[in-house]
């Protein structure tokens, strides 16, 4: 089975600083991959390179059999890659429903198929908001949301683009235990529908319970990739996290 | 076209002197735009204000214009601090710097220019000083003192700023705030105060630049507008926040402008800076020194 996402030896520098150094990663369709690493290890840079916010300097990113290099971020979203931002970036001048309308208008419609009517769009926005428990606030503005609701909006907006691959970038930082359980359950449900998910997190319990496979990034290099139980016992991983 | 060597050499020399002056003009924007990320397009208005103050005091009290500007340094510093405070409270704090901040400075530019027109009229004004008029002659090279003295003063100002930024605590705090505001806060320095000082210095340089300007050429209120392009062109070309880059870019621009004016006519000169700016923005936004 060919991998859905194939990150082939990519590197990225910022001036003299090497953020990513020859990262190779594969994600199978329908897989749940966890990605962990200390702060500054390059996780966000990796996400940005996969999604097109940044362009990798060497190597290649292949998605669904297509080469992604050189494609702008919006084109990659059209192909089926979606991401949520670590610090939520809602469109603050629009209601929640309208926030979800954007990916529907610009991604789902851009792909092909019949143009939905306004009524259909509204129904779809409502359906998505409902799935994330935000239906009651559909007419409110992002500034009226709580932290966890903002995170959910981020994920909902990423989902509205009907992606094949969803990258959730630290959606759970600073949330309470029950809130984390909430989001995890959502992500598992999405995965059950066939969506491949890369979960980037610091909260180990969440990552361990969610991931089928775990990859570890340290200082721009991937130092481990395998079953979660094995990876956490890997001496290099232990050293990276506990120091020596 | 018969390019006489004499003419060429003098055009280049004039360009070098002009470039030195441009460096001083740009130093202020290097701080406000390069380091503080504030697009102060009203900076040339402050320069022209400096020119007119130098003119007024020079004409009425006979004091040397450059001396006037040094006396005015604290006043302009306070003005800069005040403007920054308004800018910070109205825009930076609310996170709306982009559209509103630009409109704010544009409004300031406009108000300053129109006020000067109302007070002084649109006639060209010039100052009187002992070094306006005579020239040094080195072989075929003419060095008009009215350009040489400002150039030297400008380089002195430029060096002073460079030393301040790199050697004093406040100066290095300014560099720090441009790179990482949060880290600065954690080191118990108040970033807002630092930025206020930096902006104050930026406007203070305008006082000196203004005096130098009116020594070099007669001034009228709309002259500031030409300098918007020059100043930002130099800033971008030199690489934001890089003082050595600013100097190189300033001299380069000065020489190209001078050659253009000499061989193609002065009416083309304004387009040089702006053309440079557009080309740089289009093709190499990181500037010569790159970042």
């Amino acid at each position: 089975m060919t991998a859905l996402l194939h990150v082939d030896n990519i590197s990225k520098r910022f001036g003299g600083f090497v953020a990513l150094d020859g990262i190779a990663l594969e994600v199978e369709p329908g897989e749940r991959l966890g990605l962990i690493g200390p702060n500054g290890s390059g996780k966000s840079t990796l996400v940005n390179c996969i999604c097109g916010t940044l362009q990798n300097e060497t190597g290649s990113v292949l998605f669904d059999g297509h080469v992604m290099d050189g494609l702008a971020a919006h084109e990659r979203t059209h192909r089926g890659v979606a991401r949520s931002f670590q610090l939520p970036r809602p469109f603050h001048s629009m209601t929640l429903a309208d926030n979800l309308r954007i990916p529907l208008l610009y991604t789902v419609h851009a792909r092909s198929g019949p143009l939905r009517s306004t009524g259909d769009l509204d129904a779809r926005c409502h359906e998505l908001l409902d799935m994330f428990g935000l239906a009651k606030k559909s007419k409110q503005m992002p500034r009226d949301l709580t932290q966890v609701e903002m995170r959910k909006l981020e994920l909902a907006r990423a989902m509205a683009a009907e992606p094949k691959l969803l990258i959730a970038d630290e959606s759970m930082a600073g949330l309470s235990y029950s809130e984390i359980e909430d989001i995890l359950a959502l992500l598992v449900r999405l995965n059950e529908r066939g969506i491949t998910i890369i979960l980037i997190e610091h909260i180990m319990s969440a990552v361990m319970s969610f991931s089928q496979r775990l990859a570890v990034l340290v200082s721009g290099k991937k130092i481990a990739d395998g079953k979660p139980e094995d990876v956490v016992r890997d001496p290099e991983v232990v050293r990276a996290y506990l120091g020596q | 076209m018969d390019i006489s060597f004499d003419l060429l050499i003098n055009a280049v020399v004039a360009g070098l002197l002009l470039g030195g002056f441009y460096a001083a003009v740009t130093a202020g924007v290097s701080i406000s735009f390069g380091m503080l990320d504030i697009v102060n397009i009203a900076h040339p208005a402050f320069i022209i204000l400096g020119s007119y103050i130098a003119y007024f005091i020079n004409i009425n009290y006979g004091i040397d214009p450059i001396l006037v500007s040094i006396i005015m340094l604290p006043v302009f510093f306070a003005l800069g601090a005040f403007v920054y405070q308004v800018y910070y409270l109205s825009f930076e704090r609310r996170g709306q710097e982009s559209l509103r901040g630009l409109a704010f400075f544009f409004g300031l530019l406009f108000v300053t220019e129109v006020t000067l027109i109302l007070v002084f009229g649109v006639d060209y004004r010039y100052v009187e000083a002992t070094y306006i008029g005579p020239s040094l002659h080195l072989g075929m090279i003419d060095l008009p003192l009215r350009m040489l003295v400002p150039c030297l003063a400008a380089l002195a100002l430029f060096a002073a700023i460079e030393l301040f930024i790199t050697r004093t605590f406040t100066g290095r705090a300014i560099m720090a705030v441009s790179q990482d505001q949060l880290a600065l806060q954690l080191m118990a320095a108040d970033p807002i105060r630092i930025k206020r000082i930096a902006f104050g210095i930026s406007i203070a340089t305008a006082a000196v630049a203004g005096a130098l300007l009116i020594v070099i050429q007669p001034v009228e209120p709309s002259v500031g507008r030409e300098y918007i392009g020059r100043v930002f062109a130099i800033c971008v070309l030199g690489g934001l926040g890089s003082m050595p880059g600013t100097l190189i870019a300033a001299v380069l621009l000065g020489v190209v402008e001078s050659l253009t004016a000499t061989f193609y006519g002065p009416s083309w000169a304004p387009a040089v800076a702006f053309g440079f700016l557009l080309l740089t923005l289009a093709f190499r936004p990181a500037g010569l020194m790159g970042r």
């Binding site: 919006h74 931002f85 610009y106 | 630009l102 109302l118 557009l278 923005l281 289009a282």
Partner: protein, 317 residues
Amino acid sequence: MNTLSFSVIATAVGLAVLAFAHWLGLDYFYFAGYTILQFIVLSTAWNILGGYCGYVNFGSAAFFAMGAYSSVFMHKFYPLPVPVLVVIGAVVSGIVGFGMGYLTLRLRGAFFAIATLAMAVVLQTLVINWEYVGGSRGAYIIRPENLEVAGLTINYIEYLFVLMLILAVVALATSRAIERSQLGFGFATIRDDELAAEACGVPTLRVKLIATTLSGAFMGMAGAPFPYYIGYLQPQSAFGLEYAVNSIAMPMIGGTTSWVGPLVGAILLGSAQQYATVTISSAVNLLIVGLMLVAFVIIAPNGLIGLVQEYLRRRQR
């Protein structure tokens, strides 16, 4: 209310204004009214890029002047009726808008703003040095006394007034239609968060180029009849700073988030300036515009309609 209904109502309002002007019988009304209508078009045009997308254009005067100078060029080269010149002006300025956008829209908003200033000066310098359209000496266009059309004789200034009235209706209807369309949503995402917009699939560069082209085209459209209106066109006046300031001040004072703002701003500020120019002096009136811009930007960032909206929102609670 859909676009067609709006256009019909706007046209009706325009006809009412025209009827009033006829009844008044003062040429001055046409002259002053033309200026205000022109500002309605300019502010609406600026707002498409500035208010909807959040990209500040300081070079509005250049687009306006390009429209004016393309008319001058055509007048010397091959005279055409003014409505055709309007289309030509729109096309020329639209292309300039597209070109400038293509060069600079990949950069941050601040750089774009500075680039617009730069471009305005470059274009002005080119025109000053272009003898065919008069260079710095300026160009004369003799305005005919009357226009003969379909057997009717119309006062020429009234003809220009009607033309600008039509352009104003077109500009307002277009910007209102955009606001409610998918494109309008796209513009808003660019204003709110460009990075998130890209992640949602919005082709930001393409959308921004549409905005700059449209905005430029409308400004050129407004400029095309100008040489006929004023009779003598000089680069200093065509590229004058008052166009740049007004096209920014009017939408910002009126309110940038909807098509109503530029309309309100243009009418209020335009009328005030007409009054001030006649009673005080043109320099003072520009000073007042500048001060009002600074004041509004600090105190009322969403302009007059923002204040009204805020007031209504408070009333509802």
